[in-house]
Amino acid sequence: MPTEPIWIARDLSKCSGCRRCEIACSLFHEKRVWPEASRIRVFMFVPGTDFPHFCAQCEGYPCVGACPTNALSVNNETSAVLVDPEKCSACGQCIDACPGRIPHMHPKENHILICDLCGGDPQCVKACQEGLWNVLQKVARTWYTYNQTLYARKPEEIARDLAAKIYGEQGKEFL
């Protein structure tokens, strides 16, 4: 499907924790309901601070640059990072290169998992919009000129921020 580069805008503190994005993602990519194999994963270190964690398509794509086997590439049509499972050696260097440590290994197969934007029609966004939670929204990357690299943050960092935003000072006690 020809498409334009897109980005998934995210409003993390509104996440309901329903995890229907995980279900949609794993059904699309694995034909199973498989939370740990979902490319988008909802973390909940503190109840109520549930948030989806997935590729932000950084400017410069540090993960792609770090891959020693050329298993990662950028799809220019969508802006997504694509994984070639045949070439991937599961070395994990892309995890360390990612400012948010977002890529994770497939739970059963020997390769990394990174959001591929479903070829331009992200299923997680559909699931989230359908229920009117609107935490995830598909936007045109052309007009969304903010540096997406800033969105690639570690789950601990996001959890800490959301806990403070939602629970105030006592948020850190909950971590």
Binding site: R19, E36, F43, M44, F45, P47, A90, K154, Q170
Partner: protein, 622 residues
């Protein structure tokens, strides 16, 4: 193997430390499904022959954490907690929301069977097929929020350390108890995610008696394969569309009922059910929404409703309180039932109850009972360790709740729940205080009265239920009604959230079961055979009772005495429940489910259902 199941359960003996996998025959799964049904079967097979001698809080009891074939597939994941109930001495299928059941199935297990008793506090950690019993000394005594934080850190640390090349691990899911469970309080919950509770049954006390602080699970596999994923997804779409069309529960959860059930239906507990009506506009759901909610839609795995809301108090004397909405039941039982009409105080008490690991309903029921005895001068300030629980005194109820959780002073008696506390106080005071304990079979009735006839329960709903006062499992005629106990046995055995079934065609749940398991199913088959079989098992174990309490067949299938007093206020003033109508409908119910005129399952029905052993065991009661 039947599709839809992981195909094995984990069995852990805390006395010996033995851990093994166990399997159930396909026929057993076909007949008892999972969750509540399978729990009844396991408990009957293992403990049935000596049921009346088994102490629910002794090492002989079995704790069951079970999923069903629809868990994770039907929108809204739950887990069923069961065992011999320290409240009813029977069996309650007590379900709670969260990802625990999903993690368990993704780890390759349909459930966990816990036997024995640990010598020191422990928790169970399960990562796929590996399970280990770990020291819980550091979290014993900790409240819900502290426990969740500490064990999330510790167990996620284990994942990161043991599987470092996998990237960042999501936290595992857990069930835990608070201080109340540790102290074997009969109104203690098994909790998840701070605010989620398996309350009915009192299984927090069972976990406490086993010195089991928590069970933590991470499963990295997919959900078990089903017969037709395509069909499941189609049905899932219908259920979700039905939910999305009905915005009420999504927007306000059950919290909006706090005002509605009282003002319009006169069916809310007010001052220990002395009244069921109020018109306190301060309890409008917007008062919670605008002042306290920091999250308006919160839910669990796959849920389209997300009926939970998170309330936080950010200023004033209750600053720092965090709870869900609160939902209707807690709002009613910790609010009007205690003469409290201030949302802030109700949020605070709900948060406290969560932290202590108490059940808001059962403990609210007991607190109301104590307050009425104080009102009547039966319990004095001296009896209550200097506390004066006048209606509306939030501080007094706060102190009493803490005493209950720690079994301190008067709290040690009230920790037994209203039914048992009434017997103890009655002995001490030499006066019958049972009429003030609003329970059926040791289980405080849910926050839905029957006197006005305007809410959903029927006049026999609690009286004839095999789970007593449980408002989520109501005896109901006709048996095919979506509100009947047989329908509830389906939800609790297939194990999913029935709120998401509320707006869909009743038949859909059977289609869902067929799509998952490939086994034929119908309303007829369910009502006349399978559910009826599970019901008889639960009935038999309830009637056999326990070492401390047995239910008198002739008198216990009845409403609390309070429900025969006329309503003193509101638009249905003077309305009450007619005893002769209860007798008539009870006879009809007995007949419908195959019980004789005394409520005893008949030999004929038990034999037809293949329950000869139950018939033999019940002979001593006939």
């Amino acid at each position: 193997m039947i599709p839809g199941y992981a195909g094995k359960c984990l069995e852990v003996d805390l006395s010996t430390g033995d851990i093994k996998d166990i399997k159930f025959a396909d026929d057993v799964l076909r007949e008892y499904v999972g969750g509540r049904g399978l729990a009844a079967k396991i408990l009957w097979d293992r403990l049935g022959s000596k049921w009346e001698t088994v102490d629910p809080l002794g090492s002989e009891n079995i704790l069951l954490l079970l999923t069903g074939p629809l868990t994770g597939y039907f929108p809204g994941g739950r887990t069923c907690v069961s065992g011999k109930s320290p409240q009813s001495n029977g069996v309650v299928g007590s379900t709670l929301s969260g990802e625990f059941g999903i993690e368990l199935r993704c780890a390759g297990y349909d459930g966990i069977v816990v036997t024995g008793q640990a010598e020191e506090p422990v928790y169970l950690y399960v990562k796929d097929s590996d399970a280990e019993i770990r020291d819980a000394g550091a979290v014993w005594g900790k409240d819900a929020k502290q426990t969740v934080a500490a064990l999330t850190r510790e167990c996620r640390g284990l994942l990161q350390d043991r599987f470092p090349g996998k990237g960042e691990w999501k936290e595992p899911s857990m069930l835990y108890i608070g201080p109340a469970g540790e102290n074997k309080v009969r109104t203690a919950i098994v909790g998840a995610k701070w605010t989620h509770a398996a309350g009915y049954g009192g299984y927090g006390a069972v976990m406490g008696s086993k010195r089991l602080k928590a069970v933590v699970v991470k499963g990295s596999g997919a959900l078990p394969e089903v017969n037709s994923l395509e069909k499941i997804l189609q049905l899932n779409e219908i259920v979700s569309a039905d939910v999305y069309r009905n915005e009420l529960w999504r927007r306000w959860g059950t919290g909006y009922l706090g005002y509605e059930v009282a003002s319009k239906k006169s069916s809310e507990p007010v001052k220990n059910w002395q009244e069921e009506w109020h018109d306190k506009k301060s309890l409008g759901v917007d008062q919670y929404e605008n002042k306290f909610w920091v999250k308006s839609y919160w839910g669990d795995f796959g849920c389209p409703t997300t009926c939970l809301k998170i309330a936080v108090i950010k200023e004033g004397k209750h600053k720092g309180a965090v709870t869900d909405a609160p939902d209707y039941e807690l709002q009613a039982y910790l609010g009007p039932n205690l003469g409290i009409y201030t949302p802030e105080d109700i949020v605070f008490l709900s948060s406290l109850i969560n932290d202590l690991g108490l059940c808001g309903l059962q403990t609210g029921n007991t607190l109301g009972f104590a307050a009425e005895l104080f009102q009547r001068g039966i319990l004095t300030k001296d009896d209550l360790d200097g506390i004066e629980p006048v209606w509306g005194s939030t501080e007094a109820f706060e102190v009493l709740a803490r005493k209950i959780a720690h079994r301190e002073g008067i709290g040690d008696i009230l920790a037994e729940g209203a039914a048992r506390a009434a017997l103890k106080i009655g002995k001490i005071k030499n006066i019958d205080v049972s009429p003030y304990a609003v329970h059926v079979a040791g289980i405080g009735v849910g926050a839905h009265g029957i006197r006005s006839g305007k809410d959903y329960p029927q006049i026999i709903s609690y009286a004839c239920s095999v789970q007593g006062g449980d408002h989520t499992s109501t005896a109901y005629l006709p048996l095919s009604d979506p509100s009947s106990e047989l329908a509830m046995i389906f939800h609790d055995s297939a194990v999913y959230c029935w709120f998401n079934m509320y707006y869909s065609e009743p038949k859909l749940k059977f289609d869902f079961y067929e799509a998952a398991t490939g086994q034929e199913s119908s309303q007829n088959d369910w009502d006349n055979i399978k559910a009826l079989r599970i019901l008889q098992l639960q009935r038999a174990m309830l009637l056999l009772g326990g070492p401390d309490l047995k239910w008198n067949l002739k008198t216990h299938d009845d409403n609390p005495q309070r429900f025969y007093e006329p309503l003193p206020s509101g638009p249905f003033k003077c309305k009450t429940v007619d005893r002769s109508r209860v007798e008539k409908e009870r006879r009809q119910y007995y007949q419908a489910v195959g019980w004789d005129e005394n409520g005893m399952p008949t030999t004929q029905v038990l034999k037809k259902l293949g329950l000869e052993s139950v018939d033999t065991a019940l002979r001593k009661l006939r």
